[in-house]
């Protein structure tokens, strides 16, 4: 990380010294350090496959739709401002694709957002499958964020996840595709918006958020967002903390436990997949307000319920968009002093 920052600073410094604020074009062959592997690019990809929504959305943000062969694995709807660009890119499947399908579009680069999509134990593909064919690969830093103290190959986060990993990913991809200028502009924009949110909300020790992702039914234990994942980062960014203090990133909890956690604000996720009735935010709110016991929670009784896209709970660019949506609703609420 430090070496990378140093390198980025070096590149930036050279750029500044050379030709004003113009970033240097990527010189190939390019070597990228990614998830403990060194990947070499002979030239800029122009037939890339994005495995996973976040990888795809970053490429689209960089304006690379003409250089994308296909995408797969979309748990949520694409960001509205990217919908038009995304419509021109072939969609393999919104679920897990097969390796054969991915290869059938003749990719010259494959980027993935999860180790389940591309990793040593993945049933879809291993990095070596592509490397053997001379196809370079890239795995999202959020997917392999292993800390020195973590014993978990899947990146149980010892520290709070932050947008920095997304910025690193955007920077890497912009250098791979030789669109460093665009990458810098995108990162600049996101960083500005992140800082603006940070400045807008003072920190309150007693401000807690409960992130309700979904439930199979009202009687079942609810899936909540906890641990050090993106939701806890959103809570932190908006001056509060997660009401659920477990280390687990996706704990399940019964309503008794949820009531005991007594959150200041309840965040109802709008999950786009059509699996359970309570995936829909409006059904969550209807349950909260109509259940004779749950409706007595202070957050419900005082109407402190906000809605956020489910995609924001996964690490990626959508996390910041989710934080902004929560922020705009938060200001309309009557929060306790």
């Amino acid at each position: 990380m430090t070496a990378r920052t140093f390198l980025a600073a070096g590149i930036l410094g050279l750029g500044l010294a050379g030709q004003g604020a113009q970033a240097d074009p990527t010189s190939y062959p390019l070597e990228i350090e990614n998830c403990g592997q060194t990947v070499t690019f002979e030239d800029a990809p122009d037939h890339a496959v994005a495995l996973g929504q976040n990888s795809a959305e970053i490429m689209l943000m960089l304006g690379l739709e003409d250089r994308m062969a296909a995408t797969a694995f979309w748990p949520n709807e694409v960001l509205p401002e990217l919908a038009e660009a995304n419509a021109g890119v072939e969609l393999l499947t919104v679920e897990f694709p097969t390796l054969e399908t991915v290869l059938s579009v003749q990719p010259d680069f494959v980027a993935a957002m999860l180790v389940t999509l591309m990793g040593p134990d993945s049933k879809v593909a291993k990095r070596e499958d592509f490397e053997a064919l001379g196809i370079p690969t890239y795995l999202s830093p959020s997917a392999c964020s292993v800390t020195a103290v973590s014993t978990d190959i899947y990146g149980a986060r010892a520290e709070l996840w932050t947008m920095d990993q997304v910025y690193e990913e955007i920077d890497d991809l912009s250098r791979i595709f030789d669109v460093v200028d665009r990458g810098e502009a995108v990162i600049e924009d996101l960083k500005t918006r992140e800082a603006a949110l940070r400045d807008r909300f003072e920190h309150h020790d007693d401000l807690t958020f409960l992130f309700w992702f979904s439930s199979p039914s009202p009687e079942d234990d609810a899936y909540l967002a906890g641990g050090n994942g993106p939701s806890s980062y959103i809570a932190d960014l908006l001056g509060g903390s997660n009401a659920i203090k477990t280390g687990s990133e996706w704990p399940t909890l019964g309503w008794e436990g949820i009531m005991a956690s007594d959150p200041t604000v309840i965040v109802a996720a709008q999950v786009d997949r059509e699996r359970w009735t309570l995936d829909e935010a409006e059904n969550k709110i209807a349950f909260l307000e109509s259940d004779p016991i749950v409706s007595q929670m202070e957050a419900v009784a005082t109407g402190r319920i906000v809605v956020m896209p489910g995609a924001a709970t996964n690490p990626g660019v959508q996390t910041l968009y989710g934080a902004e949506e929560v922020a705009s609703q938060l200001e309309a609420l009557d929060l306790p002093e």
Binding site: L92, T93, E95, F96, P97, T98, L99, E100, T101, L103, S104, Q106, L114, V115, T116, P120, D121, S122, K123, V124, K126, D129, A132, L133, G134, A143, S150, T151, D152, I153, Y154, A156, G227, G229, G247, S248, E249, W250, T252, N314
Partner: protein
């Protein structure tokens, strides 16, 4: 059934053997020829001969890799896994004198799941221990528990089955506990993917491992075929016939455990094959193990390769979990055998 003397019987068996091997070869050929990526048959043929070193045709590298590295290795792994599971089913049905016995009755699959989940979720030995190694260790832990509870599997078939049920429950509970208390969404998805069983992740090294394990297991079991015949009359009768009951039982349980653990740690828990195939094989060649075991291996292989083909083509661009298909394909087939073999009153 061809009426006639023993010579006719041998001829019939020979024809059956040749015929079933041809069917297996055909199934593997079909599995190699079809998939999401449309590749013309000439290229498929050349990719295979290239792989075998019989030709040196210039082919598009991606197409060659899809045929040789993905489809062929997968079909061969499916064949060996099917053969191994069917073989284990036949052995356990004989040892435990129970027509419902199958490899997973001894809790081996539950143990393998726990081992895999430990690696995924807890990161036990992360980096040094792969998911497969964890599954293998878990399978053996379960086998150890069963061996301990049933006094080295010598305390009678029912006792062993009960010990297996207890081990299954224990390890399933452990798995659930680990997943619910410390899984992230990504981990839970990994676990589900793994538990459902899939040939998606297999490559040539997996085939090489099975190529050692399964034929070796088959050889050991065929070597003990006569003892297995004796077992079907019960332990006391087998002992009276001069069979070293305890030792053979332990050796065969160990062979079953090694084969099942290897297969499960590679492709996940695929049920039904070990239960159904031995009955189908008995229906075709009778109950004598010298014939039954090879028949189980071939039929199991054909069944699993076919199930994998179905799982890949039933929904375009997606793979249905193989365990779902083995049940969907297997149940009607099993029902037919039950119907044909019903007692005539």
């Amino acid at each position: 059934m061809i009426a006639g003397g023993p010579a006719n019987g041998v001829l019939r068996l020979g024809l059956l053997a040749i015929g079933s091997c041809l069917v297996l070869g055909f199934a593997i050929a079909v599995a190699t020829a079809i998939g999401d990526y449309t590749i013309d048959l000439g290229t498929v043929f050349l990719a295979i001969t290239n792989g075998l070193g019989l030709s040196g045709a210039e082919l598009p590298p991606i197409e060659e890799s899809v045929v040789w590295d993905l489809r062929l290795s997968r079909a061969l792994v499916a064949a060996l896994a099917g053969a191994g599971l069917a073989l284990c089913g036949a052995i356990l049905q004989a040892l435990l004198r129970n027509p419902l016995a199958e490899p997973f009755v001894l809790g081996i699959s539950a143990g393998a799941s726990t081992g895999a989940v430990c690696v995924i979720v807890l990161g036990v030995g992360a980096g040094s221990l792969s998911l497969s190694a964890g599954a293998f260790a878990g399978a053996f832990a379960a086998f150890g528990v069963v061996a301990l509870l049933s006094n080295g599997a010598t305390s009678g078939p029912n006792h062993t089955i009960l010990a297996g049920v207890a081990a299954s429950q224990l390890f399933n509970a452990l798995t659930s506990y680990i997943v619910t208390t410390s899984g992230s969404a990504e981990q839970a998805r990994n676990v589900m993917f793994w538990l459902l069983g899939s040939f998606g992740g297999v490559r040539w090294p997996d085939f090489q491992l099975l190529l050692v394990t399964v034929p070796l297991g088959l050889a050991i079991c065929i070597y003990m075929a006569r003892a297995l015949d004796a077992f079907t009359f019960g332990d006391e009768d087998a002992a009276a016939l001069g069979v070293p009951v305890g030792r053979i039982r332990l050796v065969l349980f160990a062979v079953t455990a090694v084969m099942t653990a290897t297969i499960v740690s590679m492709v996940g828990a695929i049920g039904f094959v070990g239960l159904v195939v031995p009955h189908a094989a008995r229906y075709v060649v009778g109950p004598m193990h010298m014939r039954l075991l090879p028949a189980c291996a071939v039929i199991g292989a054909i069944f699993m390769v076919t199930a994998d083909i179905v799982s890949r083509v039933i929904v375009a661009q997606q793979t249905i979990p193989i365990g779902v298909v083995t049940a969907l394909v297997g149940v009607p087939f099993f029902a037919l055998i039950l119907y044909r073999a019903r007692p005539q009153t």
